[in-house]
């Protein structure tokens, strides 16, 4: 083999075996604590820093919700649902329609979540199940087809022009000292954190949550104790769809309602999920928050990073994580089929 080829081989040489490493290792936790301290200190010293941090956390919460949806599905089926954002967008339109028909915001919100659950289950049963045993490419393409289909259906029913929903949290701004916090941002943070906590409670303390975890971890063993693994998958898709709907509804006041509203957020959610570790739900949320804050702070303090470069910045984060530490901050299994 030529020297050149040998050098290329060295570049490609990575750990090729599958190892089971535990999630949050000490250096990672230390780094996270360090970051938290940094943010706190920065916020106390500069009001702009604090505002950007809070706004970043709010945006990050949205990324995290969608990232959590992606991780839920990936954990159970190793499928990346490229249509997750568009499904979320469609559900947001459903919520909008409910308010048009006269429902109060929060009633529409709750009903939308129910509809989102049913929608997610339906998609898994009808579109995904027939192809989920085939190659990665096949499933990717099906979700891409779903992406395009959802876009089309939404634009067909509602049109592509901008629409507005009644703002759930109002436009008030709170002042703490010289720092201004938007009620909207705080509300988004609250709702997102609440939904994540509720989901966590479901998984940790209910029978069906345990069954879903078991089905995702070891489907064969789960089958042997009587768990209907396929149903668990469908429910997983339903819950992921609910999370997506939350993300969409929470981002609507800033993005407004248009068919492309979730496309950029999907990219951010991917980056967040990979950053946190594609197999780690906690990682998805933390990754989202970190990414949101990172993007806002670099946008504020690094002149070069203008608004056009936000997406590429997320791409850089994604790439760096994939190349340096592919199982992310809190990722467990290192699944790499070379």
């Amino acid at each position: 083999m030529s020297a050149f080829a040998r050098k290329l081989q060295a570049v490609a040489q990575t750990r090729k075996t599958t190892t089971v490493s535990t999630g949050a290792s000490l250096p990672v936790i230390a780094a996270l604590v360090g970051i938290a301290v940094f943010l706190l200190v920065g916020s106390l010293s500069s009001s702009i820093f604090a505002q950007q941090t809070v706004a970043g956390l709010a945006q990050g919460a949205v990324f995290g919700s969608l990232a959590l949806a992606l991780v839920l599905i990936y954990r159970a089926t190793e499928v990346i649902n490229f249509a997750q954002g568009e499904m979320a967008m469609a559900m947001t339109y459903v919520g909008y329609q409910l308010t048009i028909w006269g429902l109060s915001y929060w009633l529409a919100f709750a009903l939308t979540l129910v509809i989102a659950f049913v929608f997610g289950v339906a998609v898994q049963l009808i579109v995904i199940r027939p192809v989920q045993h085939r190659s990665v490419i096949a499933v990717v393409i099906v979700t891409v087809g779903l992406f395009i289909l959802t876009d089309g259906v939404v634009a067909w029913i509602w049109g592509a022009d901008l629409k507005f929903m009644a703002a759930p949290f109002g436009n008030q701004v709170y002042h703490v000292g010289s720092v201004a916090f938007a009620r909207q941002d705080l509300g988004v943070l609250l709702v997102s954190i609440l939904s994540v906590i509720l989901l966590w409670l479901l998984f940790q303390f209910t029978k069906i949550g345990l069954a879903m975890r078991a089905a995702a971890l070891r489907p064969a063993a789960a089958s042997l104790v009587g768990i209907r693994v396929n149903w668990m998958l469908a429910i997983g898709w339903g819950l992921a769809s609910v999370l997506g709907a939350v993300a969409g509804l929470m981002t609507e006041p800033t993005q407004f309602l248009q068919p492309t509203m979730m496309q950029a957020i999907l990219i951010y959610a991917f980056a967040a999920a990979v950053l946190g570790g594609l197999e780690s739900p906690a990682g998805a949320v933390i990754g989202g928050l970190l990414l949101g804050v990172f993007l806002n702070l670099t946008g504020q303090y690094v002149g070069f990073v203008t608004s056009e470069l936000r997406l590429p910045a997320a791409f850089v984060v994604l790439l760096v994580v994939l190349v340096v530490k592919p199982n992310g901050l809190l990722g467990r299994k290192q699944v790499r089929r070379v």
Binding site: L210, A220, S223, V225, G226
Partner: protein
């Protein structure tokens, strides 16, 4: 009266390789039945065929009714607990979660069953929140047994429970199996350790190359010439 489990000419294959060429056997209620044989004889495949883990042809009847071709979850719901090779433990979950999963098909409170499990395996109480994957081999085997017990099955199927265990533990586990059997649990056990299997079981089947070569009461088989030579070593 029909046996609890009846296999009639069961065939199974892995891709192009035929593993079972027509296995017929009966397990009477209340019995312990052992399946013996060398590596590759089809012992594990037989259990897999029963639990629908592998696709099979031929008839299987449980408690008089035909067992459908659905999935392993359907078989579990019929009241058959299959502890596979590798024990089917959820290594990433805690001991308690594993036990709860065992009771997945059960309705109502499982507190009493958990108490009984603690009685059989006292160490489980202290280690309830420990990750199952960090248990020793013997403890994992006991956990697998406990998990199967939580299912309150009518038939317990064990695949090589003695594998990789120290003799003292093997005796312990087989003693517990015998206790459970005396309380009414029917057991079908696949074992390479013919010696201890024949001591435990009332009836045994010897498989060779995917077929039943010999069968009968353990006492008889223990005296049988070829069994003694091939599997008992004397």
């Amino acid at each position: 009266m029909a046996a609890l489990l009846e296999l009639e000419d069961v065939r199974a294959r892995y891709g192009p390789v035929q593993a079972l060429h027509g296995v017929s056997l009966d397990v009477e209620e209340g019995q312990i039945v052992a399946i013996l044989g060398a590596n590759g004889a089809g012992k594990t495949t037989t259990l897999r065929a029963i639990s629908n883990t592998v696709r099979r042809e031929g008839g299987i009847r449980f408690a008089g009714k035909a067992v459908g071709r659905g999935g392993p979850d359907d078989v579990a719901r019929l009241g058959i607990a299959h502890v596979p090779e590798g024990r089917g433990t959820f290594a990433e979950l805690t001991v308690l979660e594993n036990l709860r999963l065992g009771a997945h098909t059960r309705r109502g409170s499982i507190k009493d069953d958990l108490a009984r499990v603690s009685a059989y395996f006292p160490w489980i109480d202290e280690r309830r929140n420990q990750q199952a994957g960090t248990l020793s081999g013997g403890e994992q085997q006991m956990l697998a047994l406990a998990r199967a017990f939580m299912q309150r099955p009518r038939l317990l199927m064990l695949d090589e429970p003695s594998l990789g265990l120290a003799p003292r533990l093997v005796t312990e586990i087989f003693r517990i199996i015998k206790d459970l059997n005396e309380e009414g649990l029917t057991v079908l056990v696949v074992e390479q350790n013919a010696h201890i299997a024949l001591q435990l079981a009332q009836t045994a089947y010897v498989l060779e190359v995917g077929r039943v070569a010999l069968s009968g009461p353990s006492v008889e088989l223990q005296q049988h010439e070829s069994v003694r030579r091939s599997y008992l070593g004397y």
